[in-house]
């Protein structure tokens, strides 16, 4: 499992792996927003938590089809499935690799982009914390979506249709935590619920992902 994780990380970082593309996409979306809604400081500060959360969600979505597609095409996924490693572990390792290459950089970059959107000072720590708690759930759910559509030729669009509705609870709690922090309310409840979603997806979704992978490899 460690070897698989290390392999996926190496593949992602090396040339053609698309590491950093998600980050660039995140940056561009955030930069585009002021062009759309106008440069007023108050407006931007008000919508900043939501924009940052939605943008990181889309950036995470963008790199999902890389999780299984290439391995499926060249047959290494079928090979992995016959290895002594349970398919559930493969799913978990793949999701972890996706998180390290997408979720973690997004989380670390978000405060800098919050600065661009005039995010109020009390929001930064919460933004970092909520993304840190929430992005693993995005990777887990995304891995499930990627496994569902792995056998399809044009699965990318379908995958977004399948995955985005599943992102709704994570998005609600994540953005709500930051908003509450900015408004001076206690962000504990949404943060705990966010952590609960992440913990539950890590515990349960690998089984669903593995089931779906086995069906697709049949």
């Amino acid at each position: 499992m460690k070897a698989l994780l290390a392999r996926d990380l190496r593949l992602a970082v090396r040339a053609g792996g698309g590491f950093g593309l998600g980050l660039a996409f995140f940056l561009i979306v955030v930069v585009l927003v002021p062009f759309g809604v106008g440069p007023e400081r108050e407006v931007l500060a008000r919508i900043a938590p939501g924009i940052l959360w939605v943008a990181s969600l889309l950036a995470a979505l963008l790199s999902l089809d890389r999780i299984f597609a290439l391995d499926f095409e060249d047959g290494s996924l079928a090979l992995l499935a016959t290895a002594p490693l349970p398919v559930e572990s493969i799913a978990l390792a793949k999701a972890a690799a996706h998180w390290v290459t997408t979720g973690l950089p997004l989380t670390l970059a978000a405060p800098a982009l919050g600065f661009l959107l005039h995010l109020p000072t009390q929001g930064y720590a919460l933004l970092l914390l909520s993304l840190l708690l929430g992005t693993p759930a995005l990777s887990m759910i995304g891995t499930f979506g990627a496994a569902l559509t792995v056998g399809l030729r044009r699965g990318g669009l379908l995958m977004s249709l399948l995955v985005l509705p599943l992102y709704v609870p994570t998005l609600i709690f994540g953005a709500e935590a930051v908003r509450r922090g900015i408004d001076g309310l206690s962000p504990t409840a949404p943060l705990m619920l966010l952590a609960a979603i992440t913990a539950a997806t890590i515990a349960l979704l690998p089984f669903a992902t593995a089931t779906v992978l086995r069906i697709n490899l049949r």
């Binding site: 559509t149 249709l161 399948l162 609870p169 669903a208 779906v212 069906i215």
Partner: protein, 242 residues
């Protein structure tokens, strides 16, 4: 006879053929009685005027929108556990019916919301969760349509239905957390001391019965069509081999 006999496609066709006209007839009868009674023979509400009468479409449609998903969940579980093809096909057949019910609930709600709340749409928890439910239905139907192999499609959509159910329920409570709504509480529930007053309640129950029968009739009809399509394909494949 056990319920599982219906899992045999031939038996299913045999059993449902005589049921179908009765279900359609019952649905037409209930809807005629309920809607005519509701629209013309109940008093106007003292605050809402005649707009209250949209309840006879709105409540049954909303009820069936959710129950259709439950039926699909149940059928998906049966498919995954017992591998009865009729069950998978019934889930497939029910999804478009669920989409129509969801849209109907949303549209009648919008028409009702405009005079009452002054807006067609608000990001109210109930309204929002119905919109999310609609997206879940869309994804489910799209996945069915995207996969060529029917057994793979049935397997994958079943897993999606189960995972989606968990997330749909989660979203339902998450949006509650996110925004307080305009929508009133449940109109009908078994444990409430006071429901909608009797004059509205009786035609409403008849309308709900009509919608349930209509749902059963449509799903049976669509499942029969799916079975026939499958049989035609099998026959064509056999002819091509010969």
């Amino acid at each position: 006879m056990s319920l599982w006999e219906l899992a045999n496609p031939k038996r299913f066709m045999g059993w449902t053929a005589p049921v179908l006209p009765w279900a359609f007839g019952g649905a037409a009868l209930c809807l005629c009685i309920g809607l005519i009674w509701g629209f013309f023979f109940t008093p106007d509400d003292f605050r809402q005027g005649s707009t209250v009468k949209i309840i006879y479409l709105h409540v049954p449609a909303a009820l069936m929108a959710i129950n259709t998903w439950f039926m699909m969940l149940l059928a998906s579980l049966i498919w995954l556990v017992r591998r009865h093809h009729v069950s998978a096909l019934a889930a497939k057949a029910a999804a478009p019916v669920g989409i129509v019910m969801t849209l109907m609930a949303l549209f009648t709600g919008a028409i009702w919301g405009q005079p009452m709340w002054g807006t067609y749409w608000a990001w109210d928890p109930r309204l929002t969760s119905f919109l999310i439910l609609f997206l879940f239905y869309l994804g489910y139907v799209a996945l069915w349509a995207a996969i060529d192999d029917s057994d793979t499609a049935a397997d994958l959509t079943s897993v999606l239905c189960i995972v989606g159910s968990v997330f749909a329920i989660l979203s339902r409570y998450a949006v509650n957390f996110w925004n307080q709504g305009l929508h009133q509480g449940a109109s009908l529930s078994l444990d409430a001391e006071e429901n909608v007053s009797d004059v509205f309640w009786q035609p409403l129950v008849i309308c709900i019965a009509g919608f349930v029968l209509l749902f059963i009739a449509l799903v049976l009809l669509r499942t029969r069509t799916e079975i026939r399509v499958r049989r035609t394909k099998a026959l064509l494949a056999r002819a091509a081999r010969a």
